[in-house]
């Protein structure tokens, strides 16, 4: 039985000052006989944004789910901000913000009620100012008192970003965050991501858009066969070269 300590129980002893935000070693995850992650290794330091590309079914979303401790890996070690996901998952989760395909919001609650609820789950005393500030930043403050069900997909996505940033995470896990965002909001999102990075936050971004992924990240990686098959600094790769690299490592056209 895995014992999980919680953030309220005091700082665990194993966290050190000098750590990678993400350190995943030999991660395996299979669904039935199908191995989705097969010995994946990944390290993301503070202040770095890494974009992970890969064809459908390559395991990108599974990787994000494993890093977010939604899915337990079959084998391997993962530490987020120095907290082992096996023993200190609650501490790790308190430092992670996630934007997934689904909004993770209750359609019949207003955006503000949803955000207050998540504020409580993350132990934020009074989250009102933080909600207002982030909502204004993402240009969704005027719809905070509307039910999420009544918001467009793009507005719902913006509320998802507010939810993900509410507790000042140190790691962002983003699964195709650009979907549903208009150009204006995409620009705001890019600014927020740059600020987050400047503040030392790390981001693991999954997208099918080679152009966006390359532009937003310090590092790009390609997932194939359940592990990282290509990993390089973004400045070493041009947008003209990237489709060919993608084809070479995945066997598919981007």
């Amino acid at each position: 039985m895995i014992k999980e300590s919680s953030p309220g129980a005091g700082q665990p002893k194993t966290q050190t000052a000098d750590f990678a935000v993400v350190r995943a070693t030999g991660v395996h995850k299979a669904y039935g006989d199908a191995g989705v992650l097969t010995g994946l290794n990944l390290e993301v330091p503070r202040g770095e944004t890494i974009t992970i590309f890969g064809p459908n079914g390559a395991g990108k979303t599974t990787l994000l789910r494993v890093l977010g401790s939604l899915t337990r890996p079959d084998r391997g070690e993962i530490a987020i901000n120095g907290f082992s996901l096996k023993e200190q998952a609650a501490f790790a989760r308190s430092t992670i913000g996630v934007v997934m395909h689904s909004s993770l919001l209750y359609g019949d609650l207003t955006a503000r009620e949803n955000l207050r609820f998540y504020g409580k789950l993350f132990g934020l005393g009074d989250a009102e100012d933080r909600i207002e500030t982030l909502a204004r930043r993402l240009n969704v403050a005027h719809r905070l008192d509307d039910k999420v069900r009544d918001l467009s997909h793009g507005l719902e996505k913006r509320v998802s970003f507010v939810r993900a940033l509410l507790h000042r995470p140190r790691l962002l896990l983003l699964d195709e965050p650009e979907s549903g965002l208009d150009q204006n909001t995409l620009g705001i999102f890019e600014e927020l991501l740059a600020e987050f990075r400047a503040g030392g936050g790390a981001t693991v971004l999954v997208t099918h858009s080679l152009e966006l992924g390359l532009a937003l990240s310090d590092r790009i990686a390609i997932l194939g066969g359940g592990r990282i098959v290509f990993d390089d600094r973004s400045e070493n790769v041009t947008i003209e070269e990237l489709p060919e690299i993608y084809r070479r490592f995945t066997g598919e056209v981007s």
Binding site: S6, L104, Y106, D108, L109, K120, F122
Partner: protein
Amino acid sequence: MKISLGPVWAVAKKDLLLEVRNREIVVSILVFSGLVFIIFNFAIELTRVNRDTVGPGVLWVAFIFAAILGLNRSFIIEKDGNALEGMMLSPIGRDTILVGKTLGNLLFMLAALVVLFPVFTALFNVNVLKPEIIVIAALATVGLATTGTMFAALSVNTRAREIMLPVLFLPIAVPILIAAVEGTAQITQGGNWSEAAEWLQILAAFDIVFVIAALLTFQFLLED
């Protein structure tokens, strides 16, 4: 295992707010139970002799089937927008989430009983508004809400969740159902606290066992 009351109440309060807005869980329990009461009222020829013995069975069987509808609904709202995963991504433990859901379900079931007891009393002319029966109902509801939430959490990610929940839940709920029916029948037939004590003790014992089992297993029920 460390469960804080703040997040537990936050989860339960969120469920209450959703219920106030949608009225899906309590209303489905009320409508289903009410219909069963009416059907049985016509289907069974009730006499002064048999209504005190048959009535408690109708009351609890109707309530337990209706409770299944409510339990299923309480997790279906979590799948909408994948909000359950949103909670699972927060630092609160899986056990805290499920204790909060159990508290919410318990409150919904008790609220439904508050309406159903007078309705049942009026339709069957069997007075169940007695302190002994209210204590029996409270104890039975704790057990039903705890085990029901446990199996609803287990079945929510299965394709046939509407079938899975009753298949898993009802066999486990049988001891509670028997104790509730027998205890209620003792009182409707003119018994008092001492005659119902045996069933009250059985209900309390099952509650303790089920609450401990739930607290020990909750953290594993929402794993992928």
